[in-house]
Amino acid sequence: MKSLTRIFFLAGVPLILSVSCQKVIDIGVFNSAPQLVAEGTITDQQGPCIVKLTKTIDIDNFAGIPSVTGADVEISDSAGVKETLTEAGNGIYISNTILGIPGHKYKLMINSGGQLYSAVSVMPHPVTDFRLGIKKEVAGTSGGSPGTGGEPYQYRVSYAITDPGEYENYYRLVIFHNNMEISSRRVFDDKFHNGKVIEDDFVLHDTLNFRPGDLIEIDLQNIDRDIYNFFRTLRMATGGLSFLSASPANPLSNITNGGLGYFSACSVIKKHLTIPG
């Protein structure tokens, strides 16, 4: 996708550079009926499972997103375990006991004002081999953007995953900088690497500057295909060349009854890095 962006950029450069321009325009008022949005995750790690419920809002009135209160939220396991989540305010519902087990199928049930929504996700088995590396480099040497705030250096994280060959695998990386989540939408599959080592790298981006000694946590989530498709289409809808799509559409959700968002059962491997000096 990055390459495509670049082709477009390059091909257009001599034509567009000096002549193209942008301006903010008024395209009128749009109304839409509020729809339920769920963001729910259950993992094989200790800690509560969190489901966040919000609503959509008109595009010309994006102030505070309304949260959904007073809903009944329940998570059940294919092995028969069931728990009703407790409302913790601001549309957040948390569990006390339920813990995800790889291989099990999880079902989320939501009853909000008499409307019933549900979603199903199967927790994949975690991969066993996930390795990380980090290096400091001068910004802008191989196509990455220069460091923010005039910082001349950037940090490149490389990773390697030994992909199990017997089934399809889908991965998501969630990145934290000093325990603050800074990236959560990087997903990939093993279509071209099934059973091999998947190697890639990326430049860390944050609105804050990185300082030597800062803690970077990278969570490798093994996600199911629906969740992969959700994040893949989320990226199509929000980034890169989405503006050239002839038919923009909502990310593919696994929530039924017209609900938006996702419910993911995933296994997680956490790894840590320190920003080098």
Partner: protein
Amino acid sequence: MKGFMKRWILSCMAFMWVSVICGQNKFVVSGYVTDSKSGEELIGAAVSIQEIPAAGVYTNEYGFYSLSVPQGKLTIAVSLIGYEYLSVPVDITKSVKLNLDLTQKITRLGEVTVSSEKRNDNVTRNQMGIDKLNIQEIKNLPSFFGEKDVLKTLQLLPGIKSAGEGNSGFNVRGGTTDQNLILLDGATVYNPSHLMGFFSVFNPDAIKDVTMYKGSLPAEFGGRLSSVLDIRMDDGNNKKIEASGGIGLISSRLTVGGPLRKERGSFIVSARRTYADLIVRGLARAGVLNDTTLRDPKLYFYDLNAKANYRFTEKDRVFLSGYFGRDVLGLPDFGFDWGNSTATVRWNHLFNDKLFLNTSLIFNNFTYTISNGSTVDPINIVSKIRDFSVRQDYQYSSGHNNQVRFGFESTWHRMVPGTITGADTNTVFKSLPVSNSVESSVYFSHTLNLTQHLNINYGLRISEFSLLGDAPFFIYSSYNYADSAKSIVDSTRKVISYIRPEPRFSVNYVFNDRNSVKASYTRNVQYLHLLSNSTTGSPTDMWIPSSYNTLPEISDQYAFGYYRNFASNNWEFSAEVYYKSLFQQVDYINGAILNFNSNVESQLLYGKGRAYGLELLLKKKYGRFSGWIGYTLSRTERRFEDINRGAWYPARQDRTHDVSVVAIYEFPRKWTFSSTWVYNTGNAVTFPKGVYVIDNRPVLLYTDRNGNRMPAYHRLDISVTKQFTERKNYRSSLTFSLYNAYSHDNAWTITFRQNDKTGQIEAVQTTLFKLVPSVSYDFRF
């Protein structure tokens, strides 16, 4: 595969030697109409007999005509735009061969007496929905970056709409861009654009004639739903060597042509190359572009056209023509290049003065290659579409009121959607299966003058498409997911075939030499489908053949028109209405993966479409001042079970109003002023209606497909050409053009983003081109 090829070749050959029996009961005048200076055959010249106004024919694609005449003293008249009117008295006592030379009109000063003879072919011609472009017309109009462009000039005509700002793709009567068959000397050009669509592959210096059929296709054409664009390359001067060329802001051109042997054969070679990379490099070095990878890019395109013809006997003539063009893009870690090549061998044979045969062997290839640019671990992905075709077209004229055309065509398509070479050991990228298919057709059409006022044309084309084995094929259940692949057919023989009859009918009632009405019905079938989900189109868009899941696309077009000429045929007016029903149209599921997906058909949705409209054209063809006003009122809609809950919705290319005004004023041999103004309703587009939050970041909410409109588009282009005084046969001119002269902010895209300060979502309009000045220098000697 081999067995199949043999059978295919044999059956094609069997067809070629169909014996033809024809009687001879009247005298016949036949021959070629040529340009007196260059000796080039002229296409579409009207040849008539002054004494018998109803008898008239047009020269065919090779400049040949054949006219049945009674005995006696007659006057043969020939007319063609841009040429002096010619009339020749003949005394007919037997059938004669009469080659006619027309002189190009250079000075228009003496043009006081305007002959009304046969300049009304728009009224009397049976064919409707046809637009012919004179190459000089194209050259006189303002251009984008000084590049004269056939496809963009066509977009100024009613019913033909640009696919986007600066884009050479076009939509005809509500069709998609892949529903146009673009032929260069008979060879299909699958991707007619350079540089992401900003320029077309047709170098105007190498082109002689451009004919566009808007849906009402003659029976000899088929394979696409919306239109056929028949482009013929220049043949070259068969009397003397000449060269022409031009230097522009982003490209230069050079053309050389001349006799192979005087008056027997000629050749032409034409080349064009852009130097956009020099500009990018300059900008990068000057620090305007801060991406260091752009410091040494490769970025250019080139075109090479070559053609030769030779007349072996009075009755046999052979043409060889070829085109090769490529776009090259290279960065240190990434390479991408694509292009078309075509080759055509044609043999014109005259059995007698009534029966003309053209036999063509055609090859074309479209390829793109993506590479990682590495010399250590090179990876290349190659995709190809390659066709071999053979066709024969017979034209038989019996009497001045009968013309029969028949023939056949057979094409072997080989599509390689993606082959990877040199992949590293960590990749298991499998090359996508190659598909082979054969598309064949036979056709017959008969044009008959029933009375002096009424002529009809009826025809039938029967097309057949066979998908051949070698690759696994999947059948997807109605819900179209890869998992639903029901069965796999893995065979080395014919997998599936479709036969579709395509009836064609048209009628023309001529009230008098200035007024006529025409009506037509046409069914077209399309067996190849282009998968593209971007607004601009890309060389990586994939063509797929009809299969178990994707059925042949069908369109039925009904059209009716009124034609009226004024002021001694100096002005012509036409009004056409059409209604088109489309079946088996292709769209995509949400989040479709179209590239490198071996289950790509699982991403498709099938539905229907309808398009209807009114097209008005008022044109002044002759004189110092020429030009036209075109207006289209139209609607294009689609209906898919899984889009917008199965309701009709506007297609992206639906535009209610479309206006174009073209004006050219010439001071002979000195100055030419020209301007074009276009206005159209914005495309249908999908804007978000709401917003929600995922991971604390806004995500836009879409409800209905194509429920919104882009703002209306309008633009004025002007150009001035100064012709310098001719010196020792050296003629030159300098052209200044202004694109978007009043610098209107036309919306190319409208995107939505969160304002950093207010946090609100705002709509941002991007304009590609405001005022763009350009200059070019052209010469000829």
